[in-house]
């Protein structure tokens, strides 16, 4: 297992320690708006344990993935605030 993984968040390459959660990688980029509510309000991680669904992002084209429950892997494409 590699020591680090490299993924792309909103087009920007990010290097993370292997085993990191996607939510941590997103925060490392300085992004706080993970998604928008139905009425357009900004949303980001609240519970950090998969229950609140506020940290959802699009991972490899799949919408509504919980970033706090998804481990980063090499080449992953993450998009926030869609």
């Amino acid at each position: 297992m590699a020591e680090t993984v490299r993924l792309v968040i909103n087009g920007v390459e990010v290097t993370m320690p292997a085993g990191s959660m996607v939510s941590a990688a997103i925060m490392k980029t300085g992004t706080s708006v993970f998604r928008r509510s139905v009425t357009g309000e900004p949303r980001g991680p609240l519970c950090g344990m998969g229950l609140c669904f506020e940290c959802r992002v699009t991972i490899d084209g799949e919408a509504h993935c919980r970033s706090c429950q998804t481990v980063c892997h090499d080449g992953m494409d993450v998009r926030t605030d869609e």
């Binding site: 139905v38 799949e62 919408a63 509504h64």
Partner: protein
């Protein structure tokens, strides 16, 4: 005996009762609406809101088509939360036999002035790229649409209220009397005409009404805009939905204006509790995933159930009750009550004021079926 306070008391604040109340009040009648729980909270909240023209029988076509045109008339006045979406329907054919059904439907609708388009396998794939490969084709009915039924019911109740109707919410009817209704709290609402629009609960108030509960499940997903464009219904639906005894599931899915997907459908008889049942729910979802493989990766938010008001001949009961001439029925709409609510309201009022309806009411008259004890 004193004069009744109301001309009409409508029992049931589902979409059928709401539409009937709005239509009666538009006629200048003094209307009371009695709803035991909440407006649009029964079968109305468990319907997909698919405004669909159907071809199961001439009578079913006549009522759905008449109603669909009434929806088109009112469409501009519907508030945003009704989420009217002219997405159209595609009836999906999985094999050559079902493609034969597409052609039969194409002739049926075309002969009656409904615009339809036959899709071959390629056109179907272009119209709905998330459908699995290997389907044979389909029939697109562009004039069909989708609404959010509970808000539509509220809209019609509000219209009735603006025209002076009275609303009694949270008041259950204990019994229908000769001159009105008696509520469970003991109070009485007197009316010249009583309308039983209580859906699958209507037989508990009027003995002999041959309406049975037919349970259905629905699932709503998270928002996935672009996943789906039309309401899709499998043509196998015709086989499964018409069985009067066995439990059945069918692929029936619609895109909501929010980007969510509303997934149906299941049909169960002799089940009277509202529990979400994992067995039939998983059959229903498996069926949907057979058609839309990508659906399996999407997140659902909620599953719930409701009861269709089913009649033996699959047509609603609209008109005077057999036993009591001042009692009218507007019930038994099975899975088509959202569509046919508006036609029902017109046919009901026409009968109350003794006017010739725009379509023949004979197939929907309660007197057509033998009354049971």
């Amino acid at each position: 005996m004193t004069a009744p306070v109301y001309d009409v008391v409508v029992i049931g604040g589902g979409i059928v009762g709401a539409a009937c109340a709005a239509e009666c009040s538009a006629e200048g009648l003094r209307v009371a609406i009695v709803e035991a729980k909440m407006i649009g909270g029964g079968a109305t909240a468990a319907g997909m809101g698919h405004l669909v023209v159907m071809d199961d029988s001439e009578a079913q076509f006549a009522l759905t088509r008449y109603s669909q045109l009434l929806w088109e008339d009112v469409r501009e006045e519907l508030p945003g939360e009704v989420e009217y979406d002219a997405c159209g329907t595609i009836w999906v054919a999985a094999d050559e036999e079902e493609m034969g059904e597409v052609e039969r439907k194409q002739r049926f609708y075309s002969e009656r002035g409904v615009a339809v388009e036959v899709l071959d396998a390629r056109a179907l794939a272009e119209a709905e790229p998330n459908l699995r490969a290997g389907l044979v084709g389909g029939l697109r009915v562009a004039g069909d649409s989708v609404i959010y039924p509970p808000c539509a019911a509220q809209f019609f109740v509000d219209r009735a209220l603006q025209r002076g109707a009275a609303l009694f919410v949270g008041k259950a009817v204990q019994e229908i009397t000769l001159d009105g209704v008696r509520l469970r709290d003991g109070s009485v609402i007197s009316a010249g005409v009583i309308v039983n629009a209580a859906g699958s609960w209507s037989p508990s108030l009027t003995a002999g009404v041959d309406v049975k509960k037919r349970k259905g499940h629905l699932v709503i997903t998270d928002r996935y805009p672009q996943f789906l464009r039309h309401q899709l219904v499998e043509l196998g639906y015709l086989k499964s939905a018409h069985s009067l005894t066995a439990d059945s599931v069918a692929f029936n899915i619609q895109p909501r204006r929010t980007g969510q997907l509303l997934i149906g459908s299941s049909r169960q008889y002799e089940v009277n509790d509202t529990t979400v049942e994992t067995g039939i729910l998983s059959r229903m979802l498996s069926r949907a995933i057979e058609y839309l493989p990508g659906l399996g990766k999407l997140s659902s938010l909620r599953a719930w159930t409701g009861f269709r008001a089913a009649t033996p001949d699959k047509l609603p009961l609209i008109g005077p009750a057999v036993a009591q001439p001042r009692l009218y029925l507007a019930t038994g709409h099975e899975g088509l009550g959202i569509t046919t609510s508006l036609g029902t309201a017109k046919l009901l009022v026409d009968q109350i004021v003794n006017r010739t309806p725009k379509i023949d009411v004979a197939p929907y008259l309660p007197s057509r079926v033998p009354a049971h004890g």
